[in-house]
Symmetry: D2
Subunit: 383 residues, 4 copies
């Protein structure tokens, strides 16, 4: 099955690796992804991406690539402002689509994307990869089996510190016209995906959003430079018009409540994507920085042996034998993308919609919009 990957940055690397490695991990594989075409903004960049990521051909013209007969799948790993145009075109061309998150800059922008894939009848997926972490899938399994009872409370955080330095560059991630929002869309949406995956639909939000660093050095060169070391101290600075941080109260359809905190300015946190879920029969705790571990407490354990269990996922996870034969050989970011790739191709072959798909992506964009509105209004916003 032939893939056209639009975009050749850090996320392209993760996807390319997944295409190569997926059949090695899942065998027999539902399909063998063939890295057919890679697209980048210039021909030189595209050629470089082709050689680096093992694609057959390269192009700087995504529109013509999407029309190719020998392309079955379009993979969108570009900045957020181009997702909609590419996805809608790909859907019209009848291609199956996997799109990086967030699906779009706003719910309004995401809506026609959802309409387009529905109309075209293609398979669609949005790449909230973290729920593919085996420990997260195990959390979902415990919930589904009723082993922690009804969920009462969900607390999720996503804390990083790569933008805490006021001199880190003004990449597209700090510009509303490209990114749509800041920490909310970039990382907060991953927490929203966890929240919906584990605790169900969200019906209301109340948010406090802040821009902590109002301007940053204008970036030159590489378009998606994270972290420190942008322009010099004396260089030009541009305005940041997105949020650096949000703290949001959540209401769930089930009656549960919760909170979400997302920040890229939390010194000392690197990829601190966590949840703590309290149920009527137990609790679950996860921290992606220690992603091979799920903590679970069962309230009905005997009195002298109650406490959180630290489970190393692997053999126990929902994907058969485990990605590696000994649990703590351990997975990295790459494996979450490999599992995502597997689930996507499996869905194509079985002609079912995977989860999360564009519907989820659209809902998450709507909720993110509501968070922004709530922060502006200082009041609850229904989602």
């Amino acid at each position: 099955m032939n893939v056209a990957m639009i975009g050749g940055g850090f996320m392209g690397k993760a996807h390319a690796m997944a295409y190569a490695a997926m059949p090695m991990f899942f065998w027999p594989a539902p399909a063998i992804p063939v890295r057919k075409v890679v697209v980048d903004v210039t021909e030189a960049a595209a050629d470089d991406a082709r050689d680096r990521f093992g694609f057959e051909v390269s192009s700087s013209d995504w529109k013509s690539v999407i029309e190719r007969d020998d392309v079955d799948v379009v993979d969108i790993v570009t900045p957020n402002d181009s997702h909609a145009e590419i996805a809608i075109a790909a859907a019209k061309a009848g291609k199956h689509i996997i799109c990086e998150k967030p699906l779009a800059r706003t719910g309004e922008e995401a809506r026609p994307m959802l309409d387009a894939v529905r109309e075209a009848g293609v398979i669609h997926m949005v790449a909230f990869n973290y729920r593919r972490t085996p420990a997260v899938a195990l959390a979902r399994k415990f919930i589904d089996e009723g082993r922690i009872g009804d969920i009462v409370n969900f607390r999720g955080t996503y804390l990083q510190d790569w933008s805490a330095d006021p001199d880190s560059p003004l990449s597209w991630r700090f510009q509303k016209k490209v990114a749509g929002s800041g920490a909310i869309g970039d990382i907060g949406t991953h927490v929203l995906d966890f929240a919906r995956y584990l605790a169900g639909e969200i019906t209301g939000v109340h948010a406090v959003n802040r821009t902590l660093i109002p301007d940053r050095p204008v970036a030159s060169g590489h378009l998606d430079k994270l972290g420190t070391g942008g322009g010099g101290a004396g260089g030009e600075r541009g305005t940041v018009d997105v949020d650096d941080e949000t703290i949001t109260l959540l209401r769930f359809a089930s009656g549960a409540t919760g909170s979400l905190e997302a920040s890229r300015n939390a010194y000392g946190r690197n990829n601190y994507l966590t949840f703590e879920v309290h149920g009527t029969k137990g609790s679950l705790v996860f921290n992606y920085e220690r992603r091979d571990e799920l903590q679970v407490m069962f309230a009905d354990d005997p009195a002298d042996a109650r406490g959180f269990r630290t489970i190393y996922t692997g053999a126990a996870h929902p994907y058969g034998e485990g990605l590696w034969p000994i649990p703590a050989l351990g997975i990295g970011y790459g494996e979450t993308k490999i599992v995502e790739c597997y689930d996507f191709f499996k869905a194509i072959v079985e002609n079912t919609q995977p989860s999360p798909n564009f519907e989820d992506g659209y809902r998450i964009s709507q909720i993110a919009d509501a968070m922004i509105r709530s922060g502006e209004n200082g009041s609850w916003v229904e989602t």
Copy 2:
């Protein structure tokens, strides 16, 4: 200096131990507390408390005890609904007062207590003991010295699980007329004390409060039974009219924002009193369940050696040589009360008001009231 302790329950034990041990830890001591009189509801209970806690005499009549000439200090360790009456009487009798937290059931009730001690000119303290943990005092020192810069965000939690079982007894802690509120007053106020101690005054709150278990077995016998094992399954149940859980957004006078979560129904958490503070130059993390440790991250550490440091407090803490000569000999709940006792008697001898005192207790009660109102209204409430 002679102490009259009103109340002989679990908290009385903690205070009695502090009176005996304080001079052993702090020598020369500012004063030697003499355990003069202990008061409990019946004479038998009072006699028992006298023998157990090493007091000279016992009484079941707190009013006459407060009038005794040979009493210098009144220590209030009763349920919340009697704090005001006792404290006001003690102030009028010219006694120095240490009162357990929360100061009163509401801000309205706390106000005349503050007025009374001011008018009487006595020394007054409210027993938010957790800020006496050396690791917390060290956090404050780092903040005061500017080592984590300006505080941007404060997140505090206090999670326990002793009331998660629907069959745990309906003690006074679940009755509004005695306790004033539930998790908010009982444990949330400790987080408010941390928040104000570390990040300054709170100016606004937005809360979601819930009662998860609407009725509980009517307790018989022991008045402050925590945890499981109350009445039988078939016994009488009474209504819980206080909150089990709150999640609250915080606004600080400094411009910082934050959140507070308090629950006594969080399975697997025991005394999970935590904070995470992000500053413009670093971060601090504390968890009372591992109370000998403070985690601190300094943003200006060299790039290859940045990360949270886990500091075992002890020699490094603000009280000279440390409570024990090797940091990780480790402190328990008792030592926080011993330090509190020291600070209280030191303040008496030096004729200064300790911190936190009734002013703090009153402010915290006001903020707790605002949390309750906000939960009812679904909107921000200024404090």
Copy 3:
């Protein structure tokens, strides 16, 4: 029951606190310890200890104190070289004895102490307090109940860093004639106590012992100054003639094997007293630096929920309701001494020998001697 405490240093503080607090924690108490006489090397020091630790009278003459009719219990908290003389005299005077660890500098020195208490028929205890930690007692309970099966392997460590600095003072703890040995006797014996308590008798050792810092500044003033800040850099230095560190292989009577590592020069470790026990049905892990927690893994847990449980001890521990009503209120060093005190007085009242007693102390001194000999010979030594 009247106590004469011989010695007024850091350990005297811990014992004095235990005498005051024991009945508060355990009520009704088996007996109320009365702090009758405290002895220190000078009258001034003894007077100071009397006031600080709440004793009735003071003395600088331990011999006459031991003969007093109104003394029931002799508590030996002096440096190691005086344990034997005092204990033998106290036994002859018919007093019950609690002696700090190690019982003596060598097994040879300990033997007549054991003979003396046996002959006198008094109650005797050696103060290996760490096994009184509730989490350690819970570990023993799990082993006794067969819940981790037969023990296969015991690994214990005791790591500190207060003597890692070559300029920390030459206290008595570095002098063979006072201390007998270094890390082996001071802290290694605590691990031996754990090993015997949890895994049974030790039959052979093979050790590597080293003195890492051959000389230290001669201390002036305080006789038991731990840590840094002794003499100046240019001052006189004296020879260290004891070990700084040992790594020892262990053989147990049961057929189990194990290892012991003790060092006071392990930078970053404070009171890192740990064990890891592997059995045929599970494992146990403990670290005193996080002393409220016991980790246990049961091999027969279901495949998807296997992992170490972190149990907060408290209500679950073997001493009834728990020392504090909520597990993670947490204990410190003091509470281990309070439990020790309880067990000692309970044994006196019930006229049984507590554990560990002088027999254990003697055995541990023998094993420590064997560790020293093994290090000298480079071969296994039977114990």
Copy 4:
């Protein structure tokens, strides 16, 4: 550069993924590995490996494959007993060689392998991949820069539990004629690699080795089934003639001492490959189960901020920008193999010997032999 991979099991998967992903991570890559031929024991197995792992052709005849002109590199991922024969043949054919660890079943068997590659002048590497973990490389960097001073003590462990169940199958890993030894060769050698990498050459060992489970169910089918679920309870059992566990004292050329513990029967441990290194100026702690973290303590930190720092590796590691752009995106087992692959091809292109190479592999086999002899003799063995 064309690769012939001999073996198509779990380790083949890891290597195949590394060949595909290495250029994606390191760009420009020193060379692009081409997956040319894969060999397995039967043609069907080899065909399957070819399709799964993306090789061009397959074969069941390793001898002819090694002679192919279009093969530059031979990758040996077979059980231990065939390493020597294949490696010596590959060297004679002038191929560069990467061989899984341990290099051979014994030092005696490894010696001619080392001679052969030296004679042939080819590039050779032995696949002790764990030192490629960025946190381990950072530890080495800190040591090289003198930041923890001279190493005093090295403690390493490698604990797993997949063979703790007496009914786990008798795979080749429990048969001396195939594996050479048990836990010593399988996992203990990884600790030896850490020990030599971080603390230098080992000059003496004293070991206690034990076989805890003397017989196991004869395995049928899959040749390298780890963990539970072999034959039925009533099936045939065969003798285990290798060690399940070792505890070994170590002496280093530098004068440092240390210990090594390896077990595949330690319930609750999964891939607990750890080290703790004490130096004269600080300490290092690593646990592969949390492989993105290195803990380091610097003794010269200010007194109020001393403690272990938990460093998330990534940007700070020795390989330029980091494998992923945010440290805690995190690496898994795969990335250690990708870095290994990079270092191997870089060495080929630069015509230098990588580290660890066959010389290291031979030394480690010698030391492993000495551990076995020491366990038999009960005495120190020089290495």
